[in-house]
Structures are given as structure tokens and as C-alpha cells.
């Protein structure tokens, strides 16, 4: 079927299989930051934004993005660098495989929640699994990042 999707500001028009997943579609467009970590919608590695809201791209059909706007980490280079620097300074990207999906969600959280508490942060990101870091370094990075953001704004 015919779809027209805007990915990171660029419009793509394609004829796709009806069962194609958004995850496979964005990867086929070179957005490799989105990863697959499971088949059961449990890991969060595939998180992208659809119309500015985080979704699990492994569980969304590509055709659902028809006439919509998709954002992956490739489209948020500046924000990724800015928050990523905090992660890097904690050493909280170990293998880094979970980082893109996690960062997509952190950036969505920043837009959505004002001054989130530690509990709210953990709740918001609970669907983003990380097997390497034990989550503590990620939390330290988020807190420092939000602190800087609130100072700067």
C-alpha cells in the first residue's frame, strides 16, 4: 500500500506491505538508532516519536504513520548530544544499545513533565530496559540534565 510519511523532516512516499512495522520502515530509511530488543513490546529499544509522542515502533504498523510525522534520534541530533553528554559523563551508556530508545523517552519526558520527581522519572521510563547499567547512572544523568535545563530556562 501507498504511504506518505515525514521522517525527521523529510517526506518519504512508498509502497509497502500492509504488515510492515514502523521499526522496520524507519530502519529501511537509514534511521538505525531505533533497535529491536524483543518481540513482546517489553524493552523500549525501538522507541520513536509519532506526532511528537513516544511510541514503540515494533508495535506500530508503518501504515499507521501515513500522513504523519515520525521522529527518531537521528532527527534530534542536538538534543541527543546535549543530554548524551550527561550520560557520557556518568559512564551510563555502557554497551549503548538501549541508549537511543531511552533518550527518545527522556526527551519526551522533558517535554511532558515539569520538574518530575525521582518516582515520576522512574515511572515514565519504566518501559526502557537496560541490562548493563543498573539504571543509577542514567538517573544521575537525568537529574543533572533537568537541573541544567531548569536553570537555563
Amino acid at each position: 500500500m501507498e504511504i506518505k510519511v515525514k521522517i525527521n523532516g523529510k517526506v518519504y512516499q512508498d509502497n509497502i506491505d500492509a504488515d510492515m512495522l514502523l521499526l522496520d520502515y524507519v530502519r529501511s530509511k537509514g534511521c538505525y538508532s531505533a533497535k529491536r530488543g524483543c518481540e513482546t513490546a517489553n524493552c523500549g529499544l525501538c522507541t520513536v516519536w509519532l506526532e511528537g509522542k513516544p511510541v514503540l515502533s515494533c508495535s506500530v504498523l508503518a501504515m499507521k504513520a501515513n500522513n504523519k510525522e515520525v521522529t527518531t534520534l537521528e532527527g534530534l541530533e542536538e538534543e541527543a548530544k546535549e543530554f548524551g553528554a550527561f550520560l557520557a559523563d556518568e559512564g551510563a551508556e555502557q554497551c549503548g544499545f538501549c541508549s537511543p530508545g531511552f533518550i527518545m523517552n527522556v526527551l519526551a519526558m522533558k517535554n511532558e513533565l515539569e520538574n518530575p520527581t525521582e518516582e515520576e522519572i522512574k515511572e515514565y521510563l519504566s518501559g526502557n530496559l537496560c541490562r548493563c547499567t543498573g539504571y543509577m547512572g542514567q538517573l544521575r544523568a537525568i537529574k543533572k540534565y533537568l537541573e541544567q535545563k531548569s536553570k537555563g530556562e
Partner: protein, 761 residues
């Protein structure tokens, strides 16, 4: 120190956090054939007949391979130095299927849909046999997992396939029975630990292609590139010179990728078709046919005098190898040696073990490598001993813990040259507030809060086996290339080794570029496992730097037209001792690129006759709901002695990550099978790993000793950090409820049932 012992950013950090395509699947050519396996639905069966004719006709299918098409040469998938201790019991495709999911056929095609269709069209007639699933009944069972005649063990590990034995052995020091007779208190108990999945976020994956020289290139998410080369050459029956292995970034390994799990399949396809091929394990395949932690049953007997001084320890470990013996003979050894050696003062030790084959998934290497299971058992027994003595378990440990300067008879007779276990305990106690909180506090709402303690150790590399080498080159303009053969799998070894080089060469870390791993280019390294890289390869960096320094001095002296005794090097320039003239490193770099100057490059390898243990103490504070048995982790304190900490950030995150994995193992991770031998919980839906809501607060501190044989005094950190949660949590549960937990995971159900049972009595 300027660069070592600092929280330096990982060299690849910014590329990773901006989502750049650096992992195997991201960099594979787009025209790779999709490779998938038809897997056995039975735990024990023989292929009577297999027909692939219809499957082959599916449009887009390139090949369908069965055991008839594949070299029948037994090998082991275990990434270990040759000759491997793991028996040669594996074929790429075998007529005999020994566990559910064992590969029956390899299908390769242009796209996933075609491959999926072809998989369904392969006709197989199975001769289904009764499976052997209970590992406690495996030894000398009439069902043989490996009845084949060409089963072979390269090393004397006590393997006997006609008895379902993958390995058997014994270690003994002193006379345990005589010592037990003199003991005032004895605890004897049997523990059961389960198989766990490493659950690294990037599943097993590999792509392969032929290069312009007609050689097989393998790009794989592996911890052991050099072993992959050797193992594949062996399995595929082609010369090693025809294989090149490249390791890109890896999305986690934790030991899983110390076995050659995915590599053989696309490799066979590329050899048969000449085309690039890629195999990506699904999560469920990674769970059902990966390389999990060995399930074990461990009997511990520990005795002390009336004051709690431990006199003798006796252990027997029965380990479930599963269908294949990868890492079976070696993991089991650690259950004894790397637990008993926490108590070096005893007069006698005995340790026996059997590793048996069953028709469950073959085990492998998982962080901690047997030490985790052994430490759970022994530390639990020591906690029970404290209970018997009516003594604070911290105090009992303070009386008995291994100290610097002691000979550890149960640890291959090695001298404990560096140990800050006492300081770790002191610090942990203070951090968690042990004296105020031990043993527990009733919260008055049906919940009890309690604390628990455990100690742990590991090794640093495999003594007299592991080899690590690096090569350093000086380039024009004076920057260095550090060629690394060890696999950075997220652990940051590329950065850590560069830190050491920068420290030795007195330069900025940005002046060292790193490169690894490519078996055509990198110096040989056994690989990233056994907590070896910082300690073994790190020392290779130190040695190589010394050598290259000599060359820089010589070239500097030549340029300054003087003798090498008259000059020194400060990292930036070579200068005459009288300070009359100097030449910069940049100039030396340029001159080495021109006739007259020599190429400045050095490579040293390193091994160690010892494997100095890191030590640590873990303490947990948790809350138990007495009605539901639900455990909530409130606070976890870890104090680690890994010698000098090379990168303070990375060591901290390693520790936090290991503790979180350990919490999962302690409380809910458990590979379960149906009575037919099919794995039940093969997804993250069913096999839960800790989320950020489950780990409470994890706090880490370091109490460093100085290891004289390590680079800058460093030991290892990668594995030890998973070892304390199970016994510490078990101790806290006991302190809250009086329950003695003997089986992992310690689920809410088991705890609630235990509490009920206690109340009845």
C-alpha cells in the same frame, strides 16, 4: 596519576548516545541473505528423514541445508584457549537433536518472508525419544545425551559420555573429616540455583561475506574474535588463514558471547553460496538456545569452633551442562575455589564436583561463571552458621575473612597479595547503618524491614592461560595508535587501555586513538572474559609503552645528535639532560616517516602466573510484606576492592549494573521448562529482568588495595559485582522472617509459603 583513576568519558560515548549505526546489524550490507533455523520441537529425537524439496522451491530461497550438507566434525562452541577444556560434543547440524530448539536445518533467502515460508515447508520425520530433564538423575542414567562414538575431550576433565558426564573432579586440602569432628558448630545444607539468561539487549548476531581475496569475513557481536576464527575453521573444516573476524560495537555480552552461538550459520551459508548472509537471533531464540548460566545443586558443609572460627569447608557441586558442554568443566571449578577462598584461614577444604549432560539447553558463560552460584551457597551457609552461633553475621565474617598476606590454599595455593575486605566491610556497615538496622524492624503494617550481608570474590584473568597483547604505533605529528585485541563490549576496555597508555606516555588521552578488533590486524588477545582485560591486557599496555618510550628516546637522541643516555622524554618532547636542545614528539613522528628514521612501533604480550582476586562486600536493606512475600529492595550498598580503580565512572556503573543483574537472579530470573523440555518463559514478558522500578537505590564505594602484579595496582571488576545480591538478600529475608532460603530465585510465592509454614509449626 593524571589519567588513571579518573572518571574519563568513554571514547565511543558520543557516537553511542547519538544513535550512530555502529552495531552488527546496522553496518551489514543491505543485500545480505536472511538466515534462519528450523529448530527441533523435541528435547531428544533423531532425524529419521528430512525433505527440503518443496522448501527449496519457494521464490527467493537461496539454500536449505541439513546435516547431510555440513561438515560432520565435532567441536565446542566455547570461546576458550586451545585445547579447550569443554568437550568436543557439538556439530553445526546433527542428526541427533539433544534439546528443544537444536538446529534441524539452515534456510537462507532474499527476504524474511520467503525464509519463514520455506521453514514451514521442510518435512521432517523425527524418531522421538524420552528426554532426560532432571539433572539430579543424569549421572549413569540409561538415557544418554551423547551416545556418539566421536565424542572427544581434549583435556583431562573427567568427561565420560557413556555416563552423561561432561566433567568430574576433586580438590582437597587437609583432612576435612578430622576437622569437622573437632568443630563445635556445623552447618550442612544443599542449595539449588537456576539457569539464567544473560539477556543482553543486543541478541546474538553475525553477518558474513567473502572479501576481495576470497576469504570468509565474519562480522560478529562477539567477546572472543580470535577464538571465533579458530572454532569456525575447525567446525567448517577450512584453514584458519581463510577466515577474518571483525568485532564492531557490541550491545552487551555478560559471557553469552563467549560462546560461538550465531556465527556458524551465516558462515556456512556464505561458504555454500558465496553471498553475504546475516543471522539475527530473535529474543526468543536468544532465550531458548543461547548460553545461559548453569543450573546447579551445591551441598555445603562448614564447621567452626565454639567462637565461630571456621575450621573446615566441604562442598559438592552438581552442575547441569544441558545438552552441550560449553564452559561446563570450568564454571564448576569456580563454585568451590572462588567461594571457599573467602575464608582462607580454615585448616581443611574439600571440593568435589560432577557436571552432567541433560536434554535442556546447553549452558555457557555468564558473568560470575560459577563463582556466583558457589558464593550464594557458601555465604548462605555462613549466614546460617552465624544464626547457630547467635552471632552477628558481620562479626562472624570479620573473624574469618581472608586477609592480605594469607596463603589461600583453596585458591590454587596463591598468596593473597592485595585485599581490603576488612575495609570494605567496615565501610559497607557504616553506609547502610548495619548496627542500627540489624537484624530487622517491624514496620507495624504487615511489613518488616531488614538488612543482609554477603562477601564475594572473583579472579583477574585465567592464570597461565590468558594472553593479552597490544600494539602501539607512533604516527606523524606525534599521535599514537593503540591496537587492541580485547573486545570492548560496552565495558569500556578501549578507553581504559587508552587511559593506561596515556598515563605511561604522559600524554592526553585524545592523543591515543584506539582500534579493535580485527583478527587480521589486532594483536592476539584471548578475548574479553574471565575478568581479564584490565589486569592482563592492561599490563601488556604498560610493557608496550616502556618499549615504545625507548624507541622514542633513541630516535630523539639521533635527531639531537647525541647518545640516548643524554636525553629524556616528558611526553611532549625529547630533550637533552642539560636542557640545551630538544625535539618534539611531533617532529619525531614525522622523522619516523622519512628515510633515515625508523618506524616507531611496539607490541608486547602479557600473561600472569596468578589471578589476584578482587573482593567486595554487599549489604542490602529490604522490606518484606509478610502476607504476600513481596520483597522490595530499599537500598543496596556495595563496597569493592578491585585494586586501583582505573576509571572511576566505568567501575561504578559496572558495579551498579552487576548488582541489578544479581537482584534479578536473586528474586525472579529462572529459566523454566515444560515436562517435555520446552522452555516456558522465552520472552521479556515472562522472563522478567529488573526494570528501574525494581532495583531500589544502589550505592557503590571503592576501598582499594594495591595489587603488585596489576597495571597501576589494578585487579578486575567485571564479574565479581554480580555475586553478592543472592546471598545478601537471602540473609535479609532470614533476618526478617527466620526463613532459610535454599533455592533461587527467592520469589514472593516461596517466601509467603515459607512464612505460612513457619507459622503452622
Amino acid at each position: 596519576m593524571r589519567v588513571v583513576n579518573k572518571p574519563i568519558r568513554k571514547k565511543d560515548a558520543m557516537m553511542l548516545v547519538t544513535g550512530k549505526p555502529v552495531y552488527t546489524q546496522d553496518i551489514a550490507p543491505k543485500d545480505c541473505l536472511v538466515v534462519k533455523l528450523l529448530r527441533s520441537p523435541h528435547a531428544n529425537a533423531f532425524i529419521e528423514d528430512i525433505n527440503t524439496t518443496i522448501a527449496m522451491k519457494v521464490p527467493g530461497i537461496e539454500c536449505v541445508l541439513t546435516y547431510k550438507d555440513i561438515p560432520q566434525k565435532r567441536f565446542t562452541m566455547a570461546g576458550q584457549s586451545y585445547p579447550e577444556p569443554s568437550p568436543y560434543d557439538h556439530l553445526i547440524l546433527d542428526k541427533h537433536l539433544r534439546c528443544c530448539g537444536d538446529p534441524v536445518a539452515i534456510v537462507a533467502g532474499e527476504n524474511e518472508k520467503a525464509v519463514d515460508r520455506a521453514l514451514k515447508l521442510i518435512k521432517v520425520k523425527y524418531d522421538v525419544r524420552e528426554p532426560l530433564l532432571d539433572f539430579t538423575k543424569a549421572k549413569d542414567n540409561e538415557i544418554l545425551v551423547h551416545p556418539e562414538e566421536d565424542f572427544k575431550a581434549l583435556c583431562d576433565v573427567g568427561a565420560d559420555n557413556k555416563r552423561n558426564l561432561c566433567s568430574t573432579g576433586n580438590f582437597s586440602y587437609g583432612d576435612v573429616n578430622a576437622e569437622f569432628e573437632k568443630c563445635a558448630h556445623i552447618v550442612e545444607r544443599t542449595y539449588h540455583t537456576k539457569a539464567n539468561s544473560q539477556a543482553m539487549m543486543e541478541t546474538f548476531r553475525t553477518y558474513t561475506h567473502m572479501d576481495l581475496y576470497g576469504r570468509l569475513n565474519i562480522v560478529s557481536s562477539t567477546q572472543v574474535p580470535f577464538h571465533v576464527r579458530r572454532i569456525l575453521a575447525n567446525a567448517l573444516d577450512i584453514p584458519k588463514s581463510q577466515i577474518r573476524v571483525i568485532k564492531p560495537r557490541i550491545g552487551g555480552g555478560f559471557g553469552a558471547k563467549q560462546s560461538v552461538v550465531s556465527e556458524v550459520f551465516p558462515a556456512v551459508v556464505t561458504i555454500k553460496t558465496g553471498k553475504p548472509a546475516m543471522m539475527i537471533f530473535s529474543r526468543s531464540e536468544s532465550m531458548t538456545n543461547g548460553s545461559p548460566r548453569h543450573e546447579m545443586q551445591i551441598r555445603v558443609k562448614v564447621g567452626s569452633d565454639e567462637n565461630g572460627v571456621i575450621k573446615a569447608i566441604d562442598m559438592y557441586t552438581l552442575s547441569n551442562a544441558g545438552a552441550y558442554g560449553e564452559h561446563g568443566p570450568t564454571t564448576v571449578g569456580l563454585t568451590g575455589h572462588k567461594s571457599m577462598s573467602l575464608y582462607a584461614g580454615a585448616n581443611a577444604y574439600n571440593f568435589d564436583y560432577d557436571v552432567v549432560y541433560t536434554n535442556t539447553m546447553g549452558g555457557g558463560a555468564y558473568r560470575g561463571y560459577g563463582a556466583t552460584q558457589g558464593i550464594f551457597a557458601l555465604e548462605s551457609a555462613v549466614n546460617e552458621l552465624a544464626l547457630k552461633l547467635n552471632m552477628d553475621p558481620v562479626k562472624l565474617r570479620e573473624k574469618n575473612m581472608t586477609a592480605e598476606g594469607q596463603v589461600m590454599e583453596s585458591y590454587y595455593g596463591e598468596l593473597c597479595a592485595s585485599c581490603a575486605l576488612d575495609r570494605c566491610m567496615e565501610k559497607a556497615k557504616e553506609m547502610i547503618g548495619w548496627d542500627e538496622k540489624y537484624p530487622c524492624k517491624d514496620m507495624g503494617n504487615g511489613k518488616v524491614r531488614s538488612v543482609g550481608v554477603a562477601m564475594a570474590m572473583q579472579g583477574s584473568g585465567i592464570s597461565n592461560v590468558d594472553v593479552g597483547a597490544v600494539e602501539i604505533k607512533l604516527n606523524d605529528d606525534g599521535f599514537y595508535t593503540l591496537m587492541i585485541g580485547a573486545s570492548d563490549m560496552g565495558t569500556g576496555c578501549d578507553t581504559i587501555l587508552a587511559q593506561m597508555a596515556a598515563e605511561c606516555l604522559e600524554c592526553d588521552i585524545d592523543n591515543i586513538i584506539v582500534n579493535g578488533v580485527d583478527t587480521d590486524q589486532s594483536p592476539y588477545d584471548t578475548g574479553s572474559y574471565a575478568s581479564s582485560t584490565t589486569y592482563i591486557t592492561g599490563m601488556a599496555v604498560v610493557k608496550t609503552c616502556e618499549k615504545i618510550r625507548q624507541q622514542i628516546l633513541a630516535e630523539g637522541a639521533r635527531l639531537l645528535k647525541t647518545e640516548v643516555e643524554n636525553v629524556d622524554f616528558d611526553g611532549q618532547k625529547v630533550y637533552t639532560l642539560d636542557n640545551s636542545s630538544s625535539v618534539t614528539l611531533s617532529e619525531i613522528g614525522y622523522s619516523s616517516y622519512v628515510a633515515g628514521g625508523g618506524c616507531i612501533t611496539a607490541s608486547e604480550s602479557n600473561f600472569s602466573p596468578v589471578s589476584p582476586p578482587p573482593f567486595m562486600v554487599g549489604m542490602v536493606e529490604l522490606e518484606i510484606d509478610k502476607l504476600t512475600g513481596q520483597v522490595e529492595i530499599i537500598d543496596y550498598v556495595a563496597v569493592v576492592d578491585c585494586g586501583t580503580v582505573v576509571n572511576t565512572n566505568l567501575a561504578r556503573v559496572q558495579t551498579e549494573g552487576g548488582i541489578a543483574q544479581g537482584i534479578g537472579m536473586a528474586l525472579y530470573e529462572d529459566i523454566q521448562y515444560t515436562k517435555e523440555g520446552r522452555m516456558i518463559n522465552n520472552s521479556f514478558m515472562q522472563y522478567k529482568i529488573p526494570t528501574r522500578l525494581d532495583v531500589g537505590k544502589i550505592r557503590v564505594e571503592f576501598e582499594s588495595s594495591y595489587e603488585p602484579t596489576g597495571p597501576f595496582g589494578a585487579k578486575s571488576i567485571g564479574e565479581i559485582v554480580i555475586n553478592t545480591p543472592s546471598p545478601a538478600i537471602s540473609n535479609a529475608i532470614c533476618n526478617a522472617t527466620g526463613l532459610i532460603m535454599t533455592e533461587l530465585p527467592m520469589t514472593a510465592e516461596k517466601i509467603a509459603m515459607g512464612i505460612l509454614e513457619n507459622e503452622k509449626n
